[in-house]
Amino acid sequence: MSTPFDPPRPRPAAAGGGGAAFTPVNFVARFTTEQQIANNRAVVPDTIVLNEGMTSGNGSDGTPYGFSQLNDSINSFKVSEEMAGLYQISNIVCVSRYGTDNGLRTPNFFGLNISAFLVGQPGGNNQAVITPRAEGVIDVNSDNNYISNTTAIFRLTPEMRFQFAWGSSFTLNGRSAGSPGGQISIIKLSD
């Protein structure tokens, strides 16, 4: 947690007989350095600026609740009973081509692969693609920058695991904390 301030978190107001209050969950992080991103790799920001509402401990499959990086190929966001609800994930990055040596072979798209699955549920591989791969243009013949956006709203149920990874290779053009090259957020909007 390198956040410069400690965000206040509303306390559950389960007063006598009343309904339980909303439990916010906010994960926000930024990309502050220039780096080459490889296809099908985990989304690993340089700096986490908000990280509230994560239930402590591990879930049913041993995965820690909240933002966790199981390995270098994918990110996992495990949801607890309290964390479950409607979520919005948003990502914005300033990108340019992956490399200059093989311009025509440089992938010309960028994206986030997002899926959600619930261990033990029957039906296929228990995964569903819930957003498209956001394919913005990266010019293979120049160093021009492009802004790529991805956003989606969906429901995460208790013990569901939200997975996401980069969908292609590119260069992420972050410079510093004061001039970041992108931001990713995982926000619980409502129950």
Binding site: G18, Q88, G123, V129, P132, R133, V137, A152, F154
Partner: protein, 188 residues
Amino acid sequence: MSDFPFSIPRRSNPVAAGGAAGFTPVLHAGVFTSAGQQIGSRAIIPDSVVENEGITPGNGTQNIPYGVSTPNGSVSRFKVSEEMAGIYTITVQVTATAYSANYDHGPTVTFSRFLFGRAVGNNSIPILNTANQDGATSQTQRYTFIFSATTRLLPEEQLEYKWGDSFFIQGSSSANPGGYFSIAKISS
């Protein structure tokens, strides 16, 4: 819920004795899984509905079904019941190429609210009208466009939405869709 591989349980409303009514979530989401030309001023109709919870059964005023309906090809309607009313975010994300060599504006959208019988202008309240200029897309390069707006929808009001300009949507399969669409109630 046409192709979602598992049924999503919906949390119950904690309307305990003496307590405040709980939040009633509403979420409709769809994906565009095929490639095709989308025509301007036509309804936004995803290929597959992946989430559809919180829709009140039955019809509202004007005998229009609650939830998403496409009475014709020119506009999509989202009729809101008393329980469904609240603050909504509507989001459309598409991967697009130009409609044709001579039409490279890229996609645009029109969102509006409509309450039958209300005496305001033509009874339609604009929410979002986007505009792209020439050259926003090409026929060979894929661009991603996101349109999003947040508004309050009142009981019996209709959210109406449609494409603005024509474009070519680049969906290829359910595993690699070309777009995502959602209407989400985020608070009461």
